[in-house]
């Protein structure tokens, strides 16, 4: 990478099924305050802000309007990316690498508990001319993709049951997780069918939460207490149309990983990366992502946080929760290098990932 960039502050709210006593702005203020305190800075030192959100999740059009105040970033360079928080990490890293700005905050939040008709909103992401008139439930897309992936990879539905149960159990050790449970693969197998072969137990359940990160240039990060260096970032899309995408593989993750691995100088991901926090909005997606990331046989190092199945699906904040878990693992000495990865859910192919390290290589 041209110009080293580090995370010097990380703040988040615990992931919760619902947060009726606070607005998303109050939740964001809480996470920002924690991130700024963690970085030992005041909000006045933030030079730019990147927020990640979608209008229909917010219930507000051009929802970027409501981003600067609770972050303490009024009258500063602020932008909104309609992507996962990890897209925001990529953008913030580039901002610093231009050499014009030294310290940038990244924010993403979920107030999913405000959304009364989530599936109906997701339906509105389907192509309005070719797909939406067919009237299928959007999760049907995940069922189709799972079917194709299992067929091509040789994995079974039972393998997906194991993944889902593992992530629910991993979340028992994560104090901020919303859906920890001591479940077995049989418990998952006995959950109701959703869109065959997809089962209810394979699906991450939605939750509320906010994460704020503070990223800084090397000049500033060197003075920070526990910087976590961003070694590589990547993001990519495949075909947005259902009719022309490869259903059995995650080609977008492969393309994004190629960029990030090259930046980080990683040749053998399974040997060089200690911890993976990857997409598991559906259990099969964890296996699919690991295949695309060229990270086979790393089962005991994947989604130790509980992933989104165990922590909760916090919409576009989920990538930043995975990032926060990587940051803590590196700061605690549990990992030297960690990877966070996200997918934006059906019907998209949009993915983003970042690689973090205790040093800048």
């Amino acid at each position: 990478m041209t110009g080293n960039v580090a995370i010097i502050g990380c703040g988040y709210s615990p992931v919760r099924v619902t947060t009726p006593e606070v607005s998303y702005r109050e939740l964001t203020f809480e996470a920002a305050s924690r991130a700024y305190a963690d970085a030992h800075i005041s909000h006045e030192e933030i030079q730019a802000l990147v927020c990640c959100e979608e209008d229909f999740f917010e219930g507000v059009s051009i929802s970027d309007e409501y981003t600067p105040d609770q972050m303490g970033c009024v009258l500063r360079p602020v932008e909104t990316v309609t992507g996962d928080g990890l897209h925001g990490v990529g953008v913030a890293t580039m901002i610093i690498q231009t050499g014009e700005i030294d310290i940038v905050a990244v924010e993403a939040h979920s107030k999913a508990s405000n959304i009364l008709t989530f599936d109906h909103i997701t339906e509105y992401a389907l192509d309005p001319i070719w797909n939406r008139p067919l009237g299928f439930h959007p999760e049907f897309v995940a069922g189709l993709e799972m079917n194709c992936f299992l067929n091509e990879s040789g994995l079974s539905v039972a393998d997906c049951d194991v993944i889902a149960a593992k992530n629910r159990r991993n979340a028992l050790l994560n104090p901020i997780a919303a859906y920890p449970a001591r479940l077995s693969a049989d418990d998952i197998a006995n959950s109701p069918d959703l869109c065959t072969p997809l089962r209810q137990g394979h699906v991450a359940q939605r939750a509320d939460g906010v994460v704020v990160l503070v990223l800084a240039s090397e000049k500033l990060a060197k003075k920070a207490e526990r910087p976590v260096w961003i070694r590589g970032t990547g993001w990519a899309n495949e075909s947005p149309t259902l009719e022309s995408r490869p259903w059995g593989e995650d080609a977008a993750t492969k393309a994004a990983a190629t960029i990030a691995y090259k930046e980080a100088g990683i040749k053998s991901p399974s040997k060089e990366i200690d911890r993976f926090e990857v997409d598991d909005l559906y259990a099969y997606r964890e296996a699919m992502a690991l295949t695309a990331l060229d990270a086979g046989k790393v089962g005991d190092r994947v989604n130790l946080s509980g992933g989104s199945i165990g922590m909760g699906h916090t919409l576009d904040a989920i990538g930043l929760y995975r990032t926060a878990m990587c940051v803590e693992a590196i700061r605690n000495g549990d990992a030297k290098t960690a990877l966070a990865h996200s997918w934006r859910g059906v019907p998209t192919t949009s993915v983003a990932l970042s690689i973090f390290s205790v040093n800048h290589g």
């Binding site: 051009i62 970027d64 600067p68 500063r76 360079p77 909104t80 309609t82 977008a252 934006r344």
Partner: protein, 388 residues
């Protein structure tokens, strides 16, 4: 600033009241034109950037994902960004980060808006930009709040509505030379003031239309730029700033967020005296008063003096500092994000001497484009220039 960044190609669709094309088809039309003008293909593009404003216009959730089909973002890094009405000038700033950071070499930047899908009128979507607790219940619309802002601007400086109406006369005249224009016309000040009052003091002919359309540019790093063209147009400065969402707590007479963004861009470009050094401007003009308001925020006219300079012909295409030589949003049309990008395209064509009958007949060093939006809250500014 970081590595040098250039614009090497531009494309635009016609701006119309109701396009027959789907939103991705509009994107494709602009993107393919931009690629053709740069002599490049999708294979030459490292990353794709999309700018488009509310999802509610199209009624498509995650609209950026839907539009990516038309922008060629298959198996490529793709992001969609927005800052309300400021998006069209912001998208090239977002692309600038991709290139000035050294991460990518080439970027396709596409801005699209299809407002006609929103029935019966896009004002229905605009109601949802307001605060759900404190404002939305009052049923506000954009005409009302911009009428408030115009009133404040006029009251502070003693400006008349006749002075403001001249903006429509100038811009609709300039748009007569733009092949994409929706509302070019030869009008008089009286005709503007005789048009119906939408929300006093705003008359119908002082308001840009709702439109469908798309515009795109190809941006590259210095090495690629020099290899594909002997006429690169350089992005010499960029700036953006977002003010508080609590617009009712601000004095609306002056766009301080535009000033902040402008100085960020001017400082990057090494411009000390913008009124003297900028050759021409494309300020955001969705309403007549906004062009004057923004010229002042851009430091191209003293506070309250833009109407007087306009009356003197200072901002005419053959004036000292041509403003909106394209015809602006009032003349060319206002498919929100695409309208801002249209201004970037105009800078590119003017600086290359390719603006046809709109060409400013003097040596051009720097042009500045600016857009504005959200709750009268955001300023986005790009300074582009030729080698000086």
């Amino acid at each position: 600033m970081g590595k040098r960044v250039a614009v090497v190609g531009a494309g635009i669709t016609k701006f119309v009241r109701r396009a027959q094309e789907t939103p991705p088809e509009l994107c494709w039309a602009a993107a393919s034109q931009a690629l053709e003008s740069a002599g490049m293909s999708f294979d030459d593009i490292d990353c794709v950037i999309h700018g488009t404003a509310p999802d509610a216009f199209d009624g498509v959730h995650m609209k950026g994902e839907y539009l990516s089909a038309g922008s060629g973002a298959w198996r490529k890094p793709y992001t969609r960004t927005y800052v309300g009405g400021g998006t069209g000038v912001y998208a090239p700033i977002h692309a600038w980060k991709h290139l000035a950071s050294g991460k990518f070499r080439t970027a396709l930047v596409v801005c699209e808006e299809k407002m006609s899908s929103c029935q019966p009128h896009p004002q229905g979507a605009f109601i949802t930009i307001f605060d759900h607790t404190t404002e939305r219940a009052l049923g506000p619309n954009l005409l009302w709040i911009f009428a408030l802002e115009q009133q404040r601007y006029m009251a502070v400086h003693g400006i008349t509505n006749e002075e403001i109406a001249r903006v429509a006369v100038k811009n609709k005249h300039n748009a007569m030379g733009h092949p994409s224009a929706q509302l070019g016309a030869e009008l008089t000040v009286d005709e503007v003031l005789e048009s119906e009052i939408m929300a006093y003091p705003v008359h119908r002919l002082m308001v840009s239309p709702t439109s469908d359309g798309a515009a795109a540019v190809i941006m590259t790093n210095e090495d690629v730029a020099k290899s594909v063209t002997d006429q690169p147009v350089w992005v010499d400065g960029v700036g953006w700033a977002l003010d508080t969402a609590f617009w009712t707590n601000r004095d609306l007479y002056y766009p301080r967020y535009v000033e902040k963004a402008a100085w960020m861009a001017y400082n990057m470009a090494g411009i000390k005296n913008p009124a003297e050094e900028i050759s021409f401007a494309e300020p955001y003009d969705p309403f007549c008063y906004k062009e004057l308001h923004h010229l002042e925020g851009l430091q191209l006219a003293p506070k309250g003096q833009a109407p007087k300079l306009l009356a003197e012909g200072y901002f005419d295409r053959d004036g000292k500092l041509p403003s909106c030589p394209s015809g602006g949003l009032l003349g060319v049309g206002n498919p929100i994000a695409a309208a801002g990008m249209m201004k970037i395209c105009e800078l590119f064509w003017q600086l290359r001497g390719e603006a046809g009958e709109r060409q400013i007949k003097k040596d051009l060093r720097w042009g500045v484009a600016q857009a504005w939006g959200d709750l009268m809250q955001v300023g986005t500014v790009v300074v582009m220039g030729r080698d000086g």
